[in-house]
Symmetry: C2
């Protein structure tokens, strides 16, 4: 049965017909599901893995730059086929070869030390080994019955990071670490879903059950507002807040417009005066508006800056408002004895977001959310008849997703391999290299440092000295015109450097407190890769100066 | 610098002090981030991978059963430490050894052909190789700048599965496959988030912008209800609907209580008469209630049954209601020419959920959601200044999560390696083995088949012939008592079999149409692993008969 007839074969399909045998019958299916024990089968397994490891190693070594110079449009045209062949198209060896030779060179070499534009970088190679183990074990931590000890390890590692953030006494952790009735936090897909989970919990606690009302989760927002005498819930965050907060408010039915932006001070930290006055104004003018949460940022995506968490905590505590900290980026700074103080106040947060795939250097992706109150997540508990029985360690009970991989095994292992100090060294390298880069930018007359690094992110722009002079004395209207020209020039500069494929710096648009220049395009550097050193950063600046001089001279000739 | 003083060392810490050198200074950090090119470094890489592959292979071969016999409570006590050591605790080799010897034996061997209780099974081993590649490339598909061609491949594979479901003409796919302005679907963490995404889109389309109103996403549900003259949105699904639908309605601010359960017919399919009458009743009695969506199930979690999708499509089309199909489990049945007809009508769904980690046999986890209308996902679009620019192929624009792994590479490769027929064989094995098991259960007098398999899931219970006879003639009150005793006996039976560690069948609780017996505990078998054959299933039934005879005789001695 399942024999392939001759006319079924594509022309020149010797390879294909060979591949077909892999799954054309049940015997070949057996082969891919069972790892046989004989030596030749073992050799095959390792042979594939060698092909992967060395193939990608060669790629990572060879392509120092970011990507091959093939335009996206041209690439798209190669991936237009939508048919799924009846028979297998390729054997594993061929698929691996194609991925290494046909995909990897046109992917982005985020591991390059010249890739300093985003919060993605090289990861220690042991992370790849750990991912392999997670995939091979294929546990589903939605329930004990498909994970057993792995759910227990997950609860343990959640407690470890909870302790890093909150530092509660030993007894607290003894009580909660393995309890089926409480949760110190949870793993989610990424920071967006961590922020969403935090606001979900906050929403359900604020609009909880009361006489004649089962709670917002059960009855929905419209009835909850009626039951609680509320017309609107707002979330306050600085203007540098991540867009995932708006998205979360949108998903949760609160409305993304109800995430209100508070201005920042000259250090890009939330302006506490404005926070206080906004809260006062809302209380006075909108008695039926409630504040769902104030969010403090610990490592803003665009500037890397940290809000005054202690002061926000004071205000939230006084007014009984949920205090969430988005530490997706900055959280692991807590490992550094030298710089942990920058996050001071985080231990007072009701909830905290941290991403594993950012400064824990884990592979894509791992989001986490932590709660000070181990009962907070009860507000989002769900049970089903066949899984997630109450009081069990079924992690699916208090979780946005259902099925989830055992990513926690990677984090737990990484903590053991790196130790706090290993992470501290990475964090310190980032912060100190960013500080050196800021100095270097200030020394170069063609650049302006736009935001000073507090952690390991800074922004700057190309702005030749004659234009800087010009701008300093220009009237507001003229300044706006000059700034617009600078914006366009910096956009072109960033694009050309990216397209050249040697290095990558990102760009974003900021609004500066003085406001006179409107929206300002800035170049953005994130120092995360420990292999990125000042020599490389100088090369990147040199390249920008050279692109500006050779290719963009017109852009910088702004007539008064 | 960073030298470790003698007194820093724990007693007997020879191994630890050796490990410390791995990250105690920047030089050792370099070593874990950069793969050196010399032969010894290559050998090390492979050595670790061999340790993983063969270690786990031995484990998978040796432990035919589900898990070691160590109670959860005892296991928990081993994972109580919440400190993160300052220095590294272990080297990679030691961590791998610990995972293989200390974790794997106490995890659940979901790959065992005796593990037939959940929607988790063995996966082809090439999936592990593919996961390794995804981890090593570490692309983030939130944006082109951190993924490039990988985002293009993701769009392609979404189009392939969209075509499998909807079968639109070639031109349709030519237009949309690589368009930055439309989306055929998206990858999410799992089926729960796929269902959530589908309802999120439906909600935003139903309560979209209109004169003086920016839309529910921007302004929230309370204002949306006011603007659209709505008091309540409901979702209709059969009583066998997955709890993720209730959770989704809860998260989205609609209220989990507003997911209304429609009864099922004697084949466990949505009762179309009841659907129609419920819709009619709502329209008549609650003019300000709107139906957000009707959900058809394609492979119910508990019974594997498929709702009459075509009939539901007729009703939804007529009444202009969003028709969602939860095919998290059953979707890949479309690969089988023999059984695809069971899903007939799915091509008329406005949105479809499919899980990759279920019957695509991918590693944990991969959820997907598809939309018939390529502009549907515009209703959930978000942009940020530094990523996700409109019109780009930045996949983060229309997506619940932000950062996401390139799981699509695994699916795309698997489709090439397996071909449609490879998947068809797996599906057919499941369906046909479940049918044979049903026959076997009906032959054995100690068992009752409770739900007949339509796909590859069935339920049954242990119920000795004398009790069956008793039950047949008992009055309603007595039947309830007998049923309660049977429930308890079947709970004990399932637990004892699980604890014995050789095989695993799950249990759940069903409410049968005749209703006279109240909630009924049933044993549940899911045939997914192609290595599970009738011989194994007979052994599992034998074991249950033996447990019942030896350990539970009292439970089955029910006096009239």
């Amino acid at each position: 049965m399942n024999k392939i007839s001759q006319d079924d074969r594509a022309p020149g399909a010797d390879f294909r017909s060979q591949a077909r045998e892999l799954v054309a019958n049940r015997e070949t299916l057996r082969r891919i599901f069972i790892m046989r024990e004989d030596d030749s089968a073992r050799e095959t397994l390792v042979k594939y893995m060698e092909q992967i490891l060395f193939g990608l190693q060669d790629f990572l070594q060879r392509h120092v730059g970011i990507t091959e110079e093939v335009p996206l449009k041209e690439l798209s045209e190669r991936f237009m086929d939508t048919t799924i062949g009846r028979h297998p198209e390729k054997k594993l060896a061929q698929v691996i070869t194609d991925l290494i030779n046909g995909i990897a060179p046109y992917a982005v070499n985020v591991a390059s030390p010249y890739f300093v534009g985003h919060m993605t970088s090289a990861i220690p190679f042991f992370m790849v080994h750990l991912s392999t183990i997670v995939a091979a074990l294929n546990q589903n931590v939605v329930k004990i019955e498909t994970s057993k000890v792995v759910s227990i390890v997950e609860k343990q590692v959640l407690a470890k990071i909870h302790r890093l953030i909150y530092g509660f006494p030993e007894d607290f952790y003894k009580e909660h670490i393995q309890s089926g009735y409480t949760s110190l936090g949870g793993f989610v897909e990424d920071g967006t879903l961590a922020n969403l989970s935090a606001l979900w919990v906050a929403r359900n606690r604020l609009l909880g059950p009361k006489e004649g009302f089962a709670g917002v989760e059960q009855e929905g927002i419209a009835r909850a507002f009626a039951a609680h005498g509320v017309d609107r819930l707002v979330v306050l965050i600085s203007q540098l807040g991540h867009y995932s907060l708006r998205k979360s408010a949108g998903v949760l039915g609160l409305g993304s417009d109800n995430v209100l932006a508070i201005g920042v001070d000259e250090h890009n930290r939330m302006d506490i005066g404005e926070l206080t006055s906004t809260l006062g104004h809302l209380a006075k003018t909108e008695p039926r508006t409630r504040v769902l949460a104030v969010v403090g940022i610990s490592g803003a995506t665009e500037t890397g800056t940290v809000d005054p968490l202690g002061k926000i905590a004071d205000i939230c505590q006084e007014q009984g408002i949920h205090f969430h900290v988005d530490a997706a980026w900055g959280g692991p700074t807590l490992f550094s004895e030298k710089y942990a103080r920058l996050l001071s106040g985080i231990e007072r947060a009701d909830s905290v977001t941290i991403d594993g795939h950012k400064q824990f250097y884990m592979p894509m992706t791992c989001g986490m959310v932590y709660f000070k109150d181990p009962e907070a997540m009860d507000a989002i508990a769900y049970n089903a008849r066949y899984v997630a029985r109450p009081g069990s360690v079924d992690l699916g009970i208090r979780s946005l997703a259902g099925s989830r991989p055992s990513t926690s095994l990677i984090l737990d292992s990484a903590l053991k391999i790196m130790g706090a100090q290993g992470y501290a060294l990475l964090i310190e390298h980032g912060i100190e290299t960013a500080a050196s880069l800021a100095e270097e930018i200030e020394l170069r007359e063609n650049f302006q440092l736009m935001t000073r690094p507090e952690l390991n992110i800074l922004t700057y722009r190309y702005c030749p000295p004659e234009i800087q002079k010009h701008l300093a004395t220009a009237g507001p209207e003229e300044a706006l015109v000059i700034n617009q020209a600078l914006n366009e020039a910096n956009i072109a500069l960033q694009r050309r450097q990216r397209e050249a494929g040697k290095s990558f710096v990102s760009r974003t648009t900021l609004r500066f407190p003085d406001g006179r220049n409107g929206l300002t395009v800035v170049l953005r550097v994130v120092i995360m890769n420990p292999m990125t050193h000042m020599g490389i950063l100088r090369e990147i600046l040199d390249e920008q100066e050279s692109i500006a001089a050779r290719q963009l001279p017109e852009s910088f000739r702004i007539e008064p």
